[in-house]
């Protein structure tokens, strides 16, 4: 991963965090890691614990960003989510996996797309 795309990712996560706060989400954790997984942002939306995967793009790509979250990434998110819930002794709470896609144009302008309940444990 080049420095450029790393910076794009970090900036994208910052933008996503800001966006979620504007939407009334309470940020609980950022870059949460478990042994076999990680989640970019964990937030609370009313009754829900939301695990957010942030996808940053420097162009408007084809296909859906949700489709870009593939099987291995899903497993990693699910593992991290389970670890988070276990560590914090959270039970009997609705959970959700969201994907936030951030497109950054060459002039710095951003388009944010939020996919709620993007996938589920199968």
């Amino acid at each position: 991963m080049g420095l450029e795309s790393y910076q794009l990712g970090v900036k994208g996560e910052e933008a996503a965090e800001k966006y979620l706060q504007q939407q009334g989400y309470q940020i609980l954790e950022k870059n949460f890691h478990s042994q076999q997984g990680e989640v970019d942002i964990i937030a609370r939306d009313r009754d829900f614990i939301v695990f957010v995967e942030v996808k940053s793009y420097s162009y408007r790509s084809y296909g859906s960003p949700v489709g870009a979250v593939r099987k291995a990434k899903k497993q990693s998110l699910i593992h991290a989510a389970q670890t988070y819930l276990f560590k914090n002794k959270i039970q009997n709470t609705y959970c959700r996996f969201d994907v936030i896609a951030i497109f950054t144009k060459y002039n710095g302008q951003r388009i944010i797309e939020h996919y709620r309940d993007a996938f589920y444990v199968s």
Partner: protein, 508 residues
């Protein structure tokens, strides 16, 4: 939170009740379906999700466990989509349950939330017969379900409609069909014996075969009208009674072949499988055994064109259903019995090139080829075919003549009368037609007068009839006598019956 909805599963021709249990709990989102679902049931979660969202509801959050109880029988097909979707809506309190109490729900969901037809609805409805219970079925299957008395059939066309109905928001009238109207009109076959040119003796033989439910083999060159004649047999068979029609419809319902044929099959089935059909295709089978062609021809006609071209094992598997009128198929999963009372009509050429015994063209086959061709038909199989006859090529003047035969309905009236006589004769013995007479009954009912006995004796001597052929001749003569309304078998009846042993005479 737990919700239970009644549904049903079909095994063979019988249905049994199952319970769809939907449990929701608050944790990572997802769902699992348990209770031995097959692929179509497992896929239902994607259909259910789309259908719920496209019906204006919210797909509920949380983890869902869906159990199809009893958990030890295999569940197949998409008919649990609707109960699962309703269960999810109920468990997430998106709809209220005012009218469910014990209703049976079935239906496949389309992604837009509309309900699609499913297989086996008649079997399921029959299993509830007389219980006065309510059953929610796809609208396309409503006619089928309504054939059954004393159940309440609610036709459903979409998930939204089902939800509104259960919540008491809308009313849906009970679906009814007029059984009498279905039976008032004679089934439309579209073909009639009037169209057949010439071949008077074949028509006569087919009439006898239909009257006594005898199996029949036609031997003739290509183009002599064997297929045309065979296709017209259902039009001279008596119409199905309600019970018979239900039995046939059930078979077509579970195999999903009812679509577009109306709710009830009142016409006798006519099946003509191609000669490449496998033994499983003929007899039925599969992991969960499905009915084969012999069962789909139940109470109708199974027509096997190019008889010796069938695989040998395919022909041999016919023997048992010809004898018993049913097939029992055992597989690791289950052993199922399907009815198979059919009339076998077979057609074949006299030799591979088809021109043997033809007055106009010479046969090009070698004797070995002809021998091989006939060897395909085993003795025990031919044993079960009562009437064998030759169908010669039409004469030029017959081809150019206008068809002027008797209409099917005229022939049918005689057959109905002859069958009635047989029913009275055999009442209470479990035998319904002359073809199925047992040796004891042959002795009892096939009494010959002196003259007839003499004819038969000379036939045995001159035509070298075997003991087996002797019984066949008696059975066929009994049917001929029945057609004429005679109590005893006379010489002319026997004389005609011996005509139908052409293969014995050829020594083939």
């Amino acid at each position: 939170m737990l919700v239970k909805i009644k549904s049903a599963a079909v095994l063979g021709l019988e249905a049994y009740e199952i319970e769809v249990e939907v449990d929701a709990c608050k944790r990572l989102p997802g769902q699992s379906i348990v209770g031995l679902p097959d692929a179509a049931v497992k896929e239902s979660r994607d259909r259910v999700r789309a259908a719920i969202e496209n019906s204006g509801f919210q797909f509920p959050p949380g983890y869902f466990t869906i159990n199809l109880a009893p958990a030890d029988t295999k569940k197949e097909g998409p008919l649990y989509d609707l109960p699962i979707a309703l269960g999810m809506l109920l468990v997430s309190d998106q709809i209220s349950n005012k009218k469910m109490n014990g209703s049976v729900v079935l239906g496949e969901l389309s992604l837009d939330g509309s309900v699609r037809p499913v297989n086996g609805v008649l079997s399921i409805a029959l299993s509830l017969s007389g219980s006065k219970r309510r059953i929610l079925v796809p609208r396309e299957n409503a006619d089928e379900a309504a054939l059954v008395k004393n159940i309440q059939v609610i036709p459903i066309s979409s998930l939204k409609e089902a939800a509104d109905y259960l919540a008491g928001k809308i009313k849906i009238g009970l679906h009814k069909v007029d059984l009498k109207a279905l039976f008032q009109t004679d089934p439309e076959y579209g073909i009639d014996f009037v169209d057949v040119k010439g071949q008077g003796h074949v028509k006569r033989a087919l009439e006898i075969a239909a009257a006594g439910s005898h199996n029949l083999l036609m031997v003739g060159p290509p183009g002599s009208g064997k297929t045309m004649l065979a296709r017209r047999i259902p039009s001279i068979l008596p119409t199905l009674s309600l019970d018979e029609a239900l039995e046939v419809t059930k078979l077509y319902s579970v195999t999903g072949q009812l679509n577009g044929k109306g709710s009830l099959i009142t016409a006798r089935p006519f099946r003509s499988p191609h000669h490449t059909t496998s033994d499983i295709g003929i007899i039925g089978g599969g992991r969960i055994p499905r009915p084969g062609e012999v069962s789909l021809a139940h109470l109708g006609v199974l027509f096997l064109d190019e008889f010796p071209e069938f695989e040998r094992n395919v022909l041999e598997v016919l023997r048992q259903p010809l004898e018993d009128g049913k097939v029992t198929i055992s597989r690791a999963h289950s052993s199922l019995t399907y009815p198979a009372q059919f009339m076998l009509i077979a057609a074949m050429n006299p030799c591979p090139c088809g021109r043997l015994y033809d007055a106009l063209q010479a046969c090009t086959c070698t004797p070995l080829q002809i021998q091989r061709y006939w060897k395909k038909l085993s003795e025990p199989l031919l044993d079960r075919i009562d009437i064998q006859l030759e169908v010669p090529r039409l004469k030029p003047e017959e081809i150019s003549a206008m068809p002027a035969g008797e209409s099917s309905s005229g022939i049918r009236n005689r057959i109905i009368a002859a069958r009635k006589r047989q029913m009275e004769r055999f009442s209470g013995s479990g035998v319904f037609c002359n073809a199925r007479m047992r040796p004891k009954q042959i002795k009892e009912f096939c009494e010959l007068d002196r003259e007839a006995e003499n004819v038969l004796k000379s036939a045995i001597v001159h035509l070298k009839l075997s003991a087996r052929a002797y019984d066949k001749v008696l059975k066929v003569s009994r049917t001929i006598a029945d057609l004429e309304g005679e109590a005893t078998i006379q010489a002319k009846h026997v004389a005609e019956a011996t005509q139908y042993r052409s293969l014995d005479r050829k020594g083939g």
